[in-house]
Amino acid sequence: MLIKLAGGTVYDPAHQVDGKVMDIYVRDGRIIARAHDGERIDREYDLRGKVVMAGAIDMHTHIGGGKVNIARMMMPEDHRGDPVAHSAFCRAGCGHAVPSTLTTGYRYAEMGYTAGFEPALLPTNARQAHLEMGDTPIIDKGGYAMLGSDDFFLRMLTAKQDQNAINDYVAWTLHASQAIGIKVVNPGGISAFKFNQRALDLDEQNVHYQVTPREILKALSRAVYELGVPHPLHVHGNNLGVPGNVETSLKTMGAVEGFPVHLTHIQFHSYGTEGDRKFSSGAAAIAEALNKHKNVSADVGQILFGQTVTASGDSMRQHANAVFGSPRKSVIMDIECDAGCGVVPFKYKDQNFVNALQWAIGLEIFLLADDPWRIFLTTDHPNGAPFTSYPHLIRLLMDKSFRNDMFAKLNLDAQAMSTLSSIDREYNLYEIAIMTRAGAARLVGLHDRGHLGVGAGADITVYTNNADREKMFAKPDYVFKDGELVVKDGQVVKVTWGHTHTVKPEFDRGIEKEIKKYFDTYHTMNMEHFKISSEEIAEGGRGGVVVHECKGRREKTA
């Protein structure tokens, strides 16, 4: 099957292509340079005047696993507002804040997204996360395995085990949970909460293990780097949502001692304590530090107004935030001496001082961060807002007058505390393509996605250029997934099953003996059952596991 996408205006930042009119050829799901002489073109699309980009990649979106499904189960009142009937191509489900899995896949594809990564895959719950992602059609997916409050790892730090052993354990976890990265959530804090600590600052010790978040960050960021895992350690820092946490975030950037690190939903970690209400924007300081620390990247976790539900591994902070829930209900869990979770519904309101300022802080960070390769477009779906609000967010970034109109409607006290209206920057299409395609693929370590070069998987989105960027990005003309037309005029026309992206770094398998002994002594499940097989993930024709290259172990510790 040979397809020609003719004459579109292409934005492909991975190859420095910025709005160039060109043809793209796709043979059997892959982008090729050109057809052979005399080769028959099976289908040609006339894309003159259209904008062509790679399929978008959401590098941080809660789409599968225990806490997401708890959120679904908790929110029937939200689902009722967005019922999704089955159609000729699609099965039924529900949408809005925490959509059903099938609807999640359809709606991402209908927005031109072709991959999404679940950032909080609990190793003990990885099977469920993969089952749910397996029921999420069309898009590719993958997960970041959560470590950092798990007993085995904290014991290693207490015992001051050498970095090689930690690397082996991290690699073993990546294999067992079929993940593509490692995430740490409130480093050590989820565990500390189980010992009745209610807060944990960067240099504060977990009372049981006598280990600090700084030590955890250092050990994990180094492990990820030394194993050659492309995606840097994915960090949800300590003190999420706490006024004054900007200081924690700034210190966190330094704590990794130069190892690559990704700070997620940084908006929730960029709060100062200035002003009458002791709540202020730390965006300028965060952006400045981001600009300076080239080893650090971040996604924003923008909030947008309306009902949503927050679902996080951070049981400590979610327990503290539960009083702000709307509707007032929450699920807080301690999980398997491994992790935790907290689910709290939220309604962000533009007339609420704190919410309005959160909105402005997120946008300030977007606009003050210089390097679009190191800042990513997320709402931390569904925590800041559902992913379906991305087109609106893109318009806020690309259209200053629209942004200022929105800003002028906010709580007046919040307006007085924000510099947003004085920032003139508008993102252009090339920068949006970096943030949502090329940069995201590079950050996650997807070598053949997020770009339109020869050999890339043909995940391609075609838009009609429209000055109203919200309209433009909400409804692509065409979306191709692995070369197949899956969306036309913003509607799914074919349902496919995407790949599950993983990494499998080399490690010393000797560590498994120790892990097995540990499981047999303390756990309620057998170690072999903890591991997810590739066959399980591919079951039912749902797309297989893709293993991405790790650059090999870098420099072992003596």
Partner: protein, 436 residues
């Protein structure tokens, strides 16, 4: 639906680390032996696992109106029944995750309503989750942290036989606790087996008995006492208020208490309010110390069914696809109500783990997809025997704690199709018939 060739080693083999789906604990340390298709539990058995694994292997044929039929005809007939129904009801749902995935797809196509055989129990918890939420933990947390275990309205072991062995009286724990010094208190219930609550050192558990029907007031009183309220009553349902005060004080002093209940045992009207009082007092305790609730369930795949239903439709059962989009109504879509009100006009009953769980009697066309050893009181229009997950074919099952899911193994050769194979075939047949 063809069976792939299996390794010869499957017959007459000893298998270790087998997962047992006979209750929601999903113990995965069993050693079983297969002798010519009959399974014996050799190690780590309990009454429930022995009953489950040691049923003699049977291989009945499908039946249509009581007459032996081939599988294809039974599938076709089932599809016809679904096609001719305006509001089919798919219930029982005794299956694991993959079977449930197939059922969700069929239900969407057939416009069916879904209910589980254990819903009367599970909905007591679901309503609390949806109304206030809760603070709970998983089994490994219990095993390694609990210092005071309060059990409300049940002995646990009659439904979950190895609970104490695996999660309370384990010798070693992660944080150096003297596990034998753990305290156990039974609150409510009568004539329950409290001997498993005796510690390895011989310390008797606390027992505060009352009739199950009076648990609502006892739990409400405990909630009040934990909240610092003073009660004027001298006793609550026969329990001295002073004894409840002592329990409240112990809960407040404990470092990590766990309050366990089984919704199945709380069989009285509006038991969800009692569950909510339990979870409410756990939330109160967490203002100053740590405590978790422990809802025990997962039998007959009820947690698995709810999980899969929730990620595919947005809702746990009881839900329905009759209007082409999912709807949720824990009262309206109840099996008994659907049948008694004549709203359901076809019944499809699924029980793949347990031959004892039989369909309700009904006057509408009915299909039973069940365990091979099932003996039916009334012959349905169609009977299709399926393999047992965890014995005849693989599967994935969710544990009581709603977090851990475990692989179920294939332990022996079987000619029976799995539920998901049968359901998918029914859906395909229905698709063909709808296209005609």
């Amino acid at each position: 639906m063809e069976k792939s060739a299996q390794p010869a080693s499957m017959d007459n083999a000893l298998s270790g680390t087998v997962t047992c789906p006979a209750c929601g604990l999903l113990c995965d340390d069993l050693v079983v032996e297969n002798t010519d298709g009959n399974i014996k539990v050799r190690q780590k058995g309990c009454a429930k696992s022995v009953t489950f694994f040691e049923r003699p292997q049977q291989n009945p044929s499908p039946r249509i109106a009581g007459k032996t039929a081939d599988l294809q005809s039974a599938i076709k007939k089932t599809a016809e029944i679904l096609r001719n129904a305006n509001q089919p009801l798919i219930t029982g749902l005794g299956t694991e995750a993959h079977g449930m995935r197939a059922i969700m797809s069929l239900a969407d196509r057939a416009g069916a309503t879904l209910d589980h055989m254990n819903s009367n129990s599970t909905i007591r918890n679901t309503l609390v989750l949806q109304n206030s939420g809760w603070q709970v933990c998983t089994l490994t947390e219990v095993r390694n942290r609990v210092d005071l275990l309060v059990i409300v309205g049940t002995d646990i072991v009659s439904l979950f036989p190895r609970f104490f062995e695996r999660h309370v009286w384990n010798e070693q724990s992660m944080f150096g606790q003297d596990t034998a010094a753990r305290e156990v208190v039974y609150l409510g219930g009568r004539d329950i087996d409290t001997t498993p609550g005796i510690s390895p050192k011989g310390v008797q558990p606390g027992i505060l008995p009352c009739d199950i029907a009076r648990l609502p007031e006892v739990v409400a009183a405990l909630h009040a006492l934990v909240s610092g309220k003073k009660l004027l009553a001298e006793n609550i349902a026969g329990i001295a208020t002073g004894d409840l005060q002592k329990l409240a004080d112990r809960l407040l002093a404990a470092k990590y208490s766990v309050i366990a209940w089984s919704a199945a045992a709380l069989d009285f009207p509006h038991a969800e309010l009692t569950v909510q009082n339990i979870t409410g007092l756990v939330v109160k305790l967490n203002n100053t110390t740590r405590s978790s609730g422990l809802p025990l369930g997962g039998n007959e795949g009820d947690i698995s069914a709810n999980q899969v239903s929730t990620w595919i439709s947005g809702y746990p059962v009881r839900n329905s696809f009759m209007r082409t989009y999912p709807e949720y109504d824990p009262y309206h879509f109840a099996t008994a109500r659907q049948l008694d009100s004549n709203e359901a006009d076809a019944l499809l009953w699924v029980s793949s783990f347990n031959p004892e769980r039989l369909p309700p009697s009904c006057k509408v066309p009915s299909v039973v997809i069940g365990h091979a050893n099932m003996t039916l009181a009334a012959e349905p229009d169609v009977f299709i025997p399926v393999g047992t997950p965890g014995i005849d074919h693989k599967g994935t099952m969710f544990r009581s704690d709603n977090v851990v899911s475990l692989p179920l193994a294939k332990l022996r050769e079987s000619t029976l199709a799995s539920l998901s194979e049968v359901i998918t075939a029914i859906e395909n047949a229905l698709k063909e018939q709808q296209a005609c």
